[in-house]
C-alpha cells in the first residue's frame, strides 16, 4: 500500500486494481488526487 495516497485514491486504486505508478498525479508535489484517478480510468481500457 502506498501511504502517499489520500484515502479516496487508496480506495479507488484497490477497487480498480490500479498501479499508482501509472497514474499521473496533479496534486501537491505530484500527489495523485481523486480526479486524476477518475481521468485515468476514463482514458484507459478497464481490465476485464
Amino acid at each position: 500500500r502506498n501511504d502517499n495516497l489520500s484515502p479516496a485514491v487508496r480506495r479507488m486504486v484497490a477497487e480498480h486494481e490500479l498501479d499508482p505508478a501509472r497514474i499521473e498525479g496533479t496534486g501537491r508535489d505530484g500527489r495523485i488526487i481523486k480526479e486524476d484517478v477518475i481521468r485515468h480510468l476514463a482514458s484507459h481500457e478497464q481490465p476485464a
Partner: protein, 473 residues
Amino acid sequence: MARSFDVIVIGAGPAGYVAALRCAQLGLNTAVIDEFLDKKAQPALGGTCLNIGCIPSKALLDSSQQYHYASTGLARHGVQVRDVELDLGAMLERKDQIVADLTGGIRQLFKANKIQWLPGHGTLHEDRRVEFSPHEGDSELLQAESVILAAGSQPMTLDAAPLDGERVVDSAGAMEFTEVPKRLGIIGAGVIGLEMGSVWNRLGSKVVLLEAMESFLATVDQQLAREAQRQLTKQGLDIRLGSRVTEVRQGKTLSVHYEDREGEHNIQVDRLIVAVGRRPRTENLAVEDAGLLIDEQGFIHVNEHCETNLPGVYAVGDAVRGPMLAHKGSEEGVMVAERLANRAGEVNYDVIPWVIYTHPEIAWVGHTEQALKSTGEPYRVGSFNFGANGRARAMDEPVGLVKVIAHDETDRILGVHILGPQASELIAEAVLAMEYAASAEDLARTVHAHPTLSEAMHEAALSVHKRALHKVN
C-alpha cells in the same frame, strides 16, 4: 551617508511585522517604520489587528460571552448563579492587558531577530529611499535594497454620520465605551458591526443595526447567512436591511435618520458605531516623484507576487487587492520575504479562510453555493447539523451546521461553510483539505475523533454522497 538596510518595511501590522520577521530569519538586515500610537501615546507594534482590531475585539467577545452565559446559560447545566454582576472596567482592562502583552511580544521578537524598529512615519521616495519622520525630532532619509509597503487600512467614514470620538465612534471607539450604552446604533451589519453589536448586546445594550444592503452577509453562503440572521435576531440584534442612513442629529440623544423601501424613519440612540467598511491607508505613503501606482480607491497596484510598478518595491496586506484579513496580509509578507531571499514564495488566494466571531461563529473557505450557481459549475452539497452531534449537545451548543460543497464529477471540495460552535477552529481542517485538493470522499474516509465537533465535518462530507451515518440522507 544615509543609513541603509536590505529591507525597509513600512507598517508593523500583521503583514508588515511578519514580513520583517521572515526577512530577518532569512538573514536580511531589516528595519520597520510604524507610526501607530496607543491610548497612552506610546508607539506600539502589531498594527490594527493587535491594537484596535482582531485581538481586542476577540477579548471582548469572549468576556461578554462568559458574562452572558453566566447570566443565562449556566442554569441549563444545573448550575445556579445568583446576582451575576458586570465589572466593565475590569473587562476593558483585561482586554488592554492582552493587547499590551502581545504587542510587547512582537517587540521582543524584533529584538531577538535584530530588527530595527523606527517609530514614526515612513514615506517612500524615488529609488527605494525612505524618509523616516520620527514622532519627535528630525527626519532622516534611509536607503533600502527593497521596500515593503504594509500601510494597512482605516475605517471608512460616512458623511451622514461624522465621528465625534465620544458618542459617534468607529470600531476602535466601540471597544472603549466606559459604560454599557442603553441604546446602541450600528451603521453596517458586516463582520465588525455584528461582532461589536454582539459584545454590547450581551452586556445589555439594545442594539439596532442599519445595513444599506438588501441581503444579509452577501459574501457568506446564503443558507448559512439566513440561519445566522435568524440566530442573531433571536439573541436580540435588531438587524434592519436595506436601511440607508441619511443624517445623524446630535441632541440629548442621537437621532439617526434613515430610509428604507417604506420611507423615512428615525431612531434615538445613546451611542452610534460607524462600521461601513475599511479603506486602504495610502495617503502620504509615497511622494509624487516616487511614481508609485495607486488606484482610484487608494489600493497600491500589485501583481500576484505583491510587486508594485516600482522595481524593488512591494506592497502587502490591506493596502492591496484581496480580502482585508490579517492572515492574508501575513502570508503575503512571508511570500515577499521568501522571494527577496531568492526562494519560491506563493500565496494561494483561492484557499483563504474567513471567520466571523459571532455566536454561533461563522467560518468558510472556498466557493459559496450562490457563487457556483452563477458560474454554472456542477456541484453536490452535503450538510450536517450540530443538533445531531453528540459533542455539541454535551456542550449545550446544538445550533448551526457544516456544509461541504464538492464538484459533481471530480468530487473535489469546492467550499466548506460552517455556522456553529468553534467554527473558527473547525475550518482549519477544510483549508488543509483544499490545499491538498482533497475530495469530499477523502474527508469522509478520514478518521475523526469521537465525540468531537469535527465529526460534523466528517458527516457533512459523507453526506455529499448520501452516506452520512447519523442523519437520514
